[in-house]
């Protein structure tokens, strides 16, 4: 497999047919880029352009280059050569088969070892609540279980130098653990997200509007500090979520970590405002 040093997104047109603001954008190996924008602004479409290595043949007319060159059609189509792993926004599996068979088939398609199947199911189960069993049919899995299995499948079987992640925060799985699983060392990662914690964990953000890339901003030093604080709030929120999921009551002490000196009432208003 060819080594990926960078990819180039050459801008096309937005939904009104106007040239995108961003004409050309390089992303290097090891970079983590966020994609943000209102619902319907074309975030998933941008991801799809990259997954398909579009050559001005999608509705956006964007072109994707790999290491500065037009990728071969073999590279675009053959799963054994694919360099892109994609966790799509999709929340359902439609295939009528059980979890083990599905993973075996997919491993075979990607030319990967088929010994890891139990490990993949184990990894998926670290992200979700009720465990997935190898003989479960794919279509009976819950939204969260499906998402967890998709993450583990992308991380192990589709393991590729370019990783595209569309809204990992949905479906109530453990998003930080999931992201960690997907990220790996020195990959080129694009994350579509509506979640401030996720967005601030990236180095740059592509801003989408009306189907076009309107701007690219670097995360500021101030955001780095805020990001740390936000992560703490997020950890608390996740802890509260687990308490509620387990059928227990939430108490004042559960909030103490983030706002040690505020009285309880104030803490709650702060959280609500956040």
């Amino acid at each position: 497999m060819e080594q990926i040093k960078n990819i180039t997104i050459i801008g096309g047109i937005d939904k009104s047919g106007k040239q995108e603001n961003i004409k050309c954008f390089d992303i290097a190996q090891g970079e983590i880029i966020g994609i943000v924008g209102p619902t319907g602004s074309g975030k998933s479409q941008l991801i799809s352009d990259i997954e398909q290595l579009s050559q001005k043949d999608s509705s956006t007319h964007r072109q994707i280059l790999i290491n500065g060159e037009i990728p071969s059609s073999e590279l675009r189509n053959n799963p054994r050569q694919k360099m892109v792993a994609q966790l799509s926004q999709n929340m359902n599996f439609l295939a009528d088969m059980n979890v083990r068979d599905f993973l075996l088939l997919h491993a075979q398609c990607r030319g990967k070892s088929m010994k890891n199947i139990d490990k993949i199911i184990y990894m998926a189960n670290q992200l979700t609540g009720e465990p997935i069993k190898p003989n479960d049919n794919l279509t009976i899995l819950s939204g969260g279980q499906t998402r967890a299995l998709m993450v583990a499948d992308v991380a192990v079987i589709s393991e590729s130098p370019i990783v595209l992640i569309d809204e990992i925060e949905n479906a109530g799985i453990k998003k930080h653990e999931a992201l960690e699983l997907l990220s790996g060392y020195n990959k080129l990662i694009l994350i579509v997200t509506h979640d401030p914690v996720m967005a601030l964990s990236t180095q740059k953000r592509i801003i989408m509007k009306n189907g076009g890339m309107t701007d690219i901003i670097d995360s500021s030093p101030e955001e780095k500090t805020i990001s740390t604080q936000l992560s703490q709030i997020d950890q608390t929120m996740l802890k509260l979520r687990e308490i509620i999921r387990n059928g227990q009551h939430i108490e004042g002490k559960d909030l103490n970590q983030i706002f040690p000196e505020l009285p309880v009432n104030k803490k709650i208003t702060t959280l609500v405002n956040y």
Binding site: D57, N77, D96
Partner: protein, 233 residues
Amino acid sequence: MKLVIIAGTPGAGKTSILINTIKLLKGANTKPAVVKVDCLATDDDKRFATLSIPVLTGLSRDMCPDHFSIYNLDEMVKFADKNNADTLIMETAGLCHRCAPYTDNCLGICVIDSTSGPNNPGKTGPFLSCADIVVVTKGDMISQAEREIFREKILEANPECTILDVNGLNGQGAAEVAKHIMASDKKVTDEERLRHNAPFAVCTLCVGEQRVSKKYHRGLLRNMNGFQEYIGE
């Protein structure tokens, strides 16, 4: 005259793919004409009419639509000739999994819906296994893993084919289909032959018998246990 035959089950996305592809063909100085064959009624002609190219529709009524389109191929070529087209594109009704309407010198394109599940390519029959190009639609509705498995299953059924992912809604990938149509150098002849024989179907049901019981039927018939025989004079 170049002949392109598009086969696939109803709703697979044939018309959607064609509309996107024909726009590109027109832009590339190709002169396409379209024939749509259906059984009882069709709306596809209205959808094609928006492209301002010659469109002909044929309704097969009591005849098997695939047999109808094969039987009327000469006439369709004449229609395209008369309208100064250089590429005749035929969209079949796609109802029968046993018929494959491709001829030796056509570009045979099978359109298949990826949400139909990974077992479907194995059951699709000769219109998939004899195709030159297999176009996979609705990939936007399934995960990358399922798309890859679906692709593998198509290759099991037709190892020689070229597989193209096309989104019928926004046309993503249609440029590849147009490229293959333009690159094809096969020309239709007066002596076209089918790639795959049509199923035997000479029985009393073919000529309108409505009674169900076995005792009413004559012809070349096949039993549930696979035994096949001729019953009659």
